[in-house]
Subunit: 109 residues, 2 copies
DNA sequence: TGGTTAATTAACCATTTGGTAAATTAATGG
DNA sequence: CCATTAATTTACCAAATGGTTAATTAACCA
């Protein structure tokens, strides 16, 4: 078993799964609804597998409703991911610091 | 070729690679230095491969210095990842909203 | 030149991943 | 009861991943 953070990042490392999460952010949906936009590109079992990956990572949960499975988003694991990435914020803001510095130098002249 | 965001998340989905980034956040280091903490668990070529994954994702770069390769962190790709994850913030803050709501209801009584 | 150090490459292997088609399960409803 | 709908499971496959050992490249230095 992978650690939670690895499972989260690994689940997010696929555009289909990210699109599914984006859809679920707008509200609950069953498997067929979720699959619809992708059925030109892949089969229903492929979607079932993607959902299983998301479920195992704790990013979604399914509830049984007659023959439908209603899926909903669980953002909790994303918090850990957000916190981890945020540690490195200064490494992408650095360039702005440098730009600032450059502009200040320019001003000083 | 994978899209940038998938490549980033995929590179982050491994504890060894995350540890390497954490190390590089403290400053540049060559391959041997980076490898040292992991050599009980895996070989040097394994580290070379991890570094290649990080490099392909644009998260690090190597500069040649005699027989050493100096690696440094590039946070830029993390920005896109941070932005993506941040879209879902309300889904992990929701619980606090619900707690707020509950507390307000309690107060109203 | 030849030995040492740093790192990568090559060849290989097992497991995981992401897909398929076909079969199966489970519930609905006429 | 039977056809239909929703979804999963099974069995399979190719490619990617993450590791290994052994060989190779490249630079330094005595």
């Amino acid at each position: 078993m992978k650690d939670q953070l690895s499972a989260t990042f690994s689940a997010l490392a696929d555009p289909t799964r990210r699109a599914i999460l984006a859809r679920l952010a707008k509200g609950e949906a069953n498997v067929s609804d979720l699959a619809k936009p992708f059925l030109k590109d892949m089969s229903l079992p492929a979607i079932t597998k993607h959902l299983k990956v998301l479920e195992n990572a704790g990013l979604i949960q399914k509830t049984k409703d007659a023959q439908w499975r209603t899926c909903s988003l669980n953002g909790a694991p994303l918090r850990e991911a957000a916190d981890w990435v945020d540690q490195y914020r200064r490494f992408w803001e650095e360039r702005f610091d440098r730009l600032d510095e450059y502009l200040r130098e320019l001003q000083a002249q």
